[in-house]
């Protein structure tokens, strides 16, 4: 069974087609990256998976059921969600933030406490040091780690990431990307990951879906993507080429 399936999904808002006949199947255990420029419809597509947005036409099937057939509360509690702004609750401690979905699911206090400690350790935040802190006492990277731990808390099979590392400095971003890869190795979750950064897409994705103005332009593994000749793909790869060339020139200017 596919984990998530978009079936001819279109979404219009204010006369604009945000998504246009978008069809895509996400396989269990893979990390599907939705890559595209701003306004390509990536975030809208992502938000349809946990029922924050519903399609104008077409349907989204999550684990065999359309999002309209799911009990929305149940659907959302079974999906982890990480966004760029993190959205930690400022009035709750790190531990309380991480434990929020288990609490909504009425886990026992001991089970929540144990799970919280385990997760904070997994994202390299020592529980003794960080559990009692408030979000404002954390750096951007630490906050995003808490965001990831919170998304993992209730053991969802599916995780959604909306440009989670976009606002971080390059060094922290790389750390978190590596942590993402390590966690994926260990946990085997299905992930849908939105980004506009082609390097991030190539590094993290098992498959890359390139969106352009609401349409699926290319669907390829990172290797295939690098060899692809589609105009939009070339556009993204040109960015990469330019960066590589810039790096190649640097040592020459020093000699």
């Amino acid at each position: 069974m596919t984990a998530v399936e978009f079936r001819q999904v279109s979404y219009r808002a204010g006369g604009l087609a945000i998504l246009d006949q978008f069809t895509l199947a996400v396989q269990p255990g893979e990390t599907l990256v939705l890559l595209g420029r701003s306004g390509a419809g990536k975030t809208t597509a992502l938000k349809m998976v946990n029922g924050l947005v519903f399609p104008t036409t077409g349907e989204i099937v999550v684990e065999g059921r359309t999002t309209t057939a799911w009990d929305l509360i149940e659907l959302r509690r079974s999906i982890g969600y990480v966004i760029q702004e993190v959205g930690l609750f400022p009035h709750l401690t790190v531990a309380e933030n991480v434990g929020i979905v288990p609490r909504l699911k009425s886990w026992t206090a001991e089970r929540i406490a144990a799970r919280t400690r385990e997760l904070l350790t997994q994202v390299d935040l020592a529980p003794e040091e960080f559990a009692g802190r408030y979000p404002r006492q954390l750096s951007g990277g630490q906050r995003q780690r808490v965001g990831v731990a919170r998304a993992l808390a209730a053991e969802p099979r599916l995780l959604l990431f909306d440009e989670p590392f976009g606002a971080l400095d390059p060094v922290t971003r790389l750390e978190l990307q590596n942590q993402f890869l390590a966690l994926r190795e260990r946990l085997h979750k299905t992930c849908i990951f939105v980004t506009h950064d082609v390097r991030e897409a190539l590094r993290l994705g098992t498959r890359i879906a390139l969106l352009d103005r609401g349409r699926l332009e290319t669907l390829a593994t990172p290797d295939q993507f690098l060899k692809s000749l589609g105009p939009q793909t070339r556009g993204f790869l040109a960015v990469l080429d330019q960066e590589l060339r810039a790096k190649g020139e640097e040592p020459q200017s020093h000699t």
Binding site: N50, I73, L75, Y81, E85, G87, V101, L104, Y134
Partner: protein, 206 residues
């Protein structure tokens, strides 16, 4: 009037004043808080309700008490009319601060809460109200202090309270009587302001 009589009157009228304010504020909060929450959900209603509360505030208080006297059921002479007027005055700051406090919650926080599967009720009680509580309390504090002052005028329509001293003092050109009404009212306002301000600060975790 002898001295011990004056002190006794001050005490009993202060108590009467206090009760008038507490009852009015309890009703104003009971109406204003849920209405404010409703307005965060129903944007089209905002203009109308806030407009109404605004107009109530602009009516001079003495005139508002006067307007209410001929109205059946809520009007007439006495405490009931005074409480209706005081509630109408107190509504605006409570409504507005509830609305502003809840709408001021970071959209990313609200979206996270919804995406994690919170029901509307959980979103309100676990996220929105805790984050808006300081703003809401500030509105209640402002409303309380204003109500303590306005309630002195309620004596003009027979509602009692410290205004009795003030009106009596004005009529008999007796500064002692005016001060006997004004000073306790001012103290009451200061103490309420301080006390509610202290409670507000206890919610400083946010």
């Amino acid at each position: 009037m002898n001295r011990s009589g004056l002190w006794g009157d001050i005490l009993s009228l202060t108590a009467e004043h206090f009760v008038l304010v507490v009852v009015s504020m309890a009703i104003a909060v009971a109406i204003g808080l849920p209405t404010g929450i409703l307005l965060t959900r129903k944007a089209p209603l905002r203009g109308w309700v806030l407009g109404f509360a605004n107009v109530m505030q602009t009516i001079p208080s003495l005139a508002l008490f006067g307007f209410l006297i001929p109205i059946p059921f809520i009007g007439g002479i006495g405490k009931r009319t005074a409480i209706v007027a005081l509630v109408l005055y107190a509504l605006l700051p409570i409504l507005r601060n509830t609305l502003v406090g809840i709408l001021g919650v970071d959209p990313a926080v609200r979206e996270s809460a919804v995406a994690m599967g919170m029901t509307g009720r959980q979103l309100l009680f676990q996220v929105e109200l805790p984050l808006a509580v300081r703003t809401i309390l500030a509105g209640i504090r402002v409303a309380t202090v204003t109500t303590i002052g306005t309630a002195t005028i309620a004596a003009a329509i027979g509602a009692g309270g410290l205004g009795v001293f003030i009106f009596r003092g004005i009529a008999s050109v007796d500064t002692t009587q005016i001060l006997a009404g004004a000073i306790p009212a001012a103290l009451l306002a200061l103490i309420s302001d301080g006390g509610l301000g202290w409670i507000e600060k206890r919610f400083s975790a946010v």
